[in-house]
């Protein structure tokens, strides 16, 4: 095989941090190459340089042996490099065809483009209706739009940034079949992920990044997931542990919860019901945008509804606002750290007051007790190992993982009877994620009821006693998490929605490898 793309000594520094330090590797023609690393390891910056969004400070790239230095994404696209973004670069108020057209050089007229979209999307098993508004599509379908947009340009190198984080296991299989089909046609793929099993199932070669440096390259099929993880994190991680405990009485009882959507393209909850006992962790999985935000909002009290829909220890609280629910022991930590869970420009002390003023007694006669509030913030920083100069620092200045530890810690230290968290470890590095999961387990073993809403199925399997899936606003009946297979979970999540398989035999083969890795 000849080299398609080679990178030599790419370096990019931002004020205060070297995002990429002397990164070199090569991708062969028709190879699926994995770029492996934790959040903040510099993967995104590296692919942005390949795609022409960021200029390297030093170093060189070669495409087909010729020097390659795209000044802007257009130039990258004309050279045959296409990219599927992690946070989709889509326009919700525009149609599928318009979205595809925007990402192409010399897009054909709309009628012809629509026909091409239909043909290509069916050929690769990703059916799409070009006339639909992207805002009405599911996360999986949105990703199809991005992939089809890339495929229409006949790319030589396809960059995929964390493509499976929004897909059900069945959808992942179909995506992998599509990628293998592309590979068979000679397209190289640069596949970015931190999900080790996927990489072992799919990729021919891997480059591991840690803190901006290449720390190793290997054939992922010859390494175990644990070895890869150690390479990626730099230390062996211990999986969280918990003391087995008997579950007590029902603390949180939810029945017949139906709600309006939070934002224009959100999903309404449809008659959601479940109960959690003291000491139990219920995990709710689901692909983003299936009602997670609405569920959190209905439990926190941001959306209020009929009295009987939510009961805390039998007391109907569905009509009560957030503060009243906090007083009764139900605390929540929403997904969005900056702007929802924490006020970005306020200090950690002030952010502590915002949620803890009642339970921690941080006010007197309407005046703030600054000293007590600072002590509270310091306790959180101490107990959850939040790396920050002190409680006077603005929330915005903390890294994602540190702020997440602070936000979760703030709720846990208020000793809730019920804790609801949404995406507790989204975008958090592996060490911090392990600490947060351990804290949730500890809280449950002390007798609190915990509800974890997450898209990370591995995380849910690790912490939950019972598992339920949220799909299009419907919640499945909770089942014991132990012993559930990926396939069962996938079906609970709504299966493959309406995707086709490009090559059924191949999809089956990939599934087997994937299942092997998990069992």
């Amino acid at each position: 095989m000849t080299d398609l793309l080679s990178l030599q000594g790419l370096t990019k520094a931002y004020p205060g941090v070297v995002a990429n330090d002397d990164v070199s590797f090569t991708i062969a023609e028709g190879e699926i190459h994995a770029l492996l690393g934790e959040n903040g390891a510099g993967k995104s910056t590296l692919v942005k340089m390949i795609y022409g969004l960021v200029k390297p400070d030093s170093g060189a790239m070669q495409l087909f042996g010729a020097p390659y230095a795209p000044p802007e994404p257009r130039a990258a696209r004309t050279s045959g490099v296409a990219m599927v973004f992690q946070h989709f670069s889509l326009f919700e108020a525009l149609t599928v065809a318009e979205n595809v057209g925007l990402g192409m050089e010399d897009a054909p007229p709309m009628g012809q483009l629509s026909r091409e979209i239909r043909e290509v999307s069916h050929a690769y098993g990703l059916p799409l209706d070009p006339r639909r508004l992207v805002g009405d599509l599911s996360a999986g379908e949105r990703q199809r739009v991005e992939i089809v947009r890339c495929l229409l340009q006949d790319p030589k190198l396809l960059i995929m940034d964390e493509p499976t984080s929004v897909l059900t296991p069945q959808e992942v299989e179909i995506l992998f079949a599509t990628l293998n089909k592309l590979k068979a046609e000679g397209t190289s793929i640069l596949y970015i992920s931190h999900k080790l099993e996927e990489i072992r199932a799919l990729c021919d070669g891997a480059t591991v990044l840690r803190r901006g440096k290449v720390v190793g390259s290997c054939d992922p099929r010859e390494k175990s997931a644990a070895e890869l993880a150690e390479l990626m994190v730099g230390e062996a991680l211990t999986p969280p542990e918990r003391a087995p405990a008997a579950h007590g009485e029902v603390v949180l009882h939810v029945a017949g919860l139906t709600s309006e959507h939070v934002d224009a393209f959100g999903t309404k909850l449809q008659n959601v019901g479940f109960e959690i006992r003291a000491g139990e962790i219920l995990g709710i999985g689901g692909v983003a945008g299936n009602g997670q935000d609405e569920l959190l909002s209905a439990l926190s009290g941001e959306t209020i509804g009929p009295e009987e829909t939510v009961r805390i220890r039998g007391e109907a609280v569905g009509h009560l606002p957030p503060n009243a629910r906090r007083l009764r022991g139900m605390l929540t930590a929403p997904e969005e750290r900056l702007g929802h869970a924490a006020a970005p420009d306020m200090s950690l002390t002030e952010n502590g007051i915002l949620s803890g003023w009642q339970r921690q007694d941080l006010t007197r006669a309407g005046f703030l007790r600054r000293g007590a509030a600072r002590t509270f913030a310091e306790e959180i920083i101490e107990a959850f190992d939040v790396r920050t100069p002190g409680p006077h620092v603005a929330a915005r200045a903390l890294s994602g993982g540190n702020l997440q530890k602070f936000v979760i810690g703030r709720e846990i230290l208020q000793q809730p009877d019920i804790l609801v968290v949404n995406q507790p470890t989204w975008g958090v590095d592996a060490a911090a994620a392990a600490a947060i999961r351990q804290a949730l387990l500890d809280l449950a073993s002390k007798g609190a009821a915990v509800l974890v809403i997450s898209q990370d199925l591995d995380e849910l399997m690790e912490v939950s006693d019972n598992f339920a899936a949220l799909n299009a606003g419907h919640l499945s009946a909770p089942r014991p998490a132990r012993g559930l297979t990926m396939e069962q979970i996938g079906l609970m999540l709504g299966g493959a929605h309406d995707m086709d398989v490009a090559d059924p035999a191949e999809a089956h083969h990939i599934k087997e490898i994937y299942e092997e890795g998990h069992s």
Binding site: V54, F88, G103
Partner: protein
């Protein structure tokens, strides 16, 4: 009062003339807002266009040159806003308000020598046969050229936004500037062009007042037309043809108010002057009762600053 004293044909005929300034300003602001920029300086850009257009037309004796000068002045003035908001990332609302205040003062300053001077008389078109049709002729086909230019501008804006790639890119920038940037579109450059277009249209609208409609220069002569234009864009839920309908509706209210006054109506005219704003508020309430932004059709990034990070 005597309703029969109102000449309805004349009223309807003057409706199009009364609506043209706000129509021009509103279609420009619509383009600016579709690109995601909220420019509240329409009033300031209009009055700047009004004095520059008037001055040039008086000095050169050519109304066409006056309009050209007004468009250039309006665009140049709007680029002050563009520079402040797009490069220096100042707050769009505050900057827009400042632009209005600045424009009012600036126009008064350069307009000192033009107070009391009589402007040109702009000829009305006369197409044989069509203009002579009874009733319809005087209402629709006996105006000056700018009235028709403004309608053509609405049609062109609609077609460009809906059918061309340039229009698609403009809407994309207003919808999600981060995604547009990731795809390699020059968000700031596109927005500056949209802002300049908005300024040029507002300048034309102002010049229409001072060159055709009044025609002379008085301080503060736009008298809130810029604010009506802003309300109109929202009223039209960012759709070009609805801007046309809304402009004629609001223009009709202005003309009606003058006529009712002349006919000796007992109700204070202030009620009619308020009515465009009241209608806009009402429409906003009705449209937003669906709670969804999609129904409202507002560009998602309206008023948000864009900064290319990393």
């Amino acid at each position: 009062m005597d309703i029969s004293s109102i000449n309805w044909i004349l009223l309807l005929a003057s409706l199009m003339v009364a609506a043209t300034p706000i129509l021009l300003a509103a279609i420009g602001e619509l383009v600016t807002e579709r690109a995601g920029v909220l420019n509240l300086g329409v009033e300031g850009m209009m009055i700047t266009g009004a004095i520059c257009g008037f001055a040039v037309s008086v000095e050169t004796g050519s109304a066409t040159l006056g309009f050209v000068a007004a468009a250039i002045a309006g665009a140049a003035f709007s680029l002050i806003f563009g520079l402040l908001t797009q490069f220096l990332l100042s707050n769009q609302v505050a900057t827009g308000l400042a632009l209005t205040l600045f424009g009012l003062g600036f126009s008064a300053l350069i307009g000192q020598g033009y107070i009391g001077i009589k402007g040109l008389s702009v000829p009305h078109i006369h197409i044989p046969v069509i203009s002579d049709i009874p009733v319809l002729g005087p209402i629709l086909f006996r105006h000056d050229l700018m009235v028709y230019v403004s309608i053509l501008l609405v049609a062109a804006t609609w077609a460009v936004l809906k059918y061309t790639r340039a229009g698609l890119i403009l809407r994309a920038v207003g919808e999600n500037h981060d995604a547009a940037h990731a795809l390699g579109y020059k968000v700031v450059r596109i927005r500056l062009m949209a802002i300049a277009f908005g300024g040029a249209c507002a300048g034309l609208g102002g010049a229409y007042l001072s060159i055709v409609r009044v025609p002379q220069w008085t301080e503060g002569m736009t008298a809130g037309a810029g604010w009506i234009a802003l309300a109109l864009v929202v009223f039209a839920s960012w759709k070009p043809w609805r801007v046309l309908i809304g402009a004629y509706l609001f223009g009709g209210l202005t003309v009606l108010q003058l006529n009712l006054q002349a006919a000796g109506l007992k109700v204070p005219v202030e009620y009619l002057s308020m009515s465009p704003y009241l209608i806009t508020i009402l429409v906003l309430v009705i449209m937003s009762s669906g709670r969804s932004r999609a129904a409202l059709n507002a560009p998602a990034e309206l008023g948000r600053s864009f900064h290319a990070s990393s």
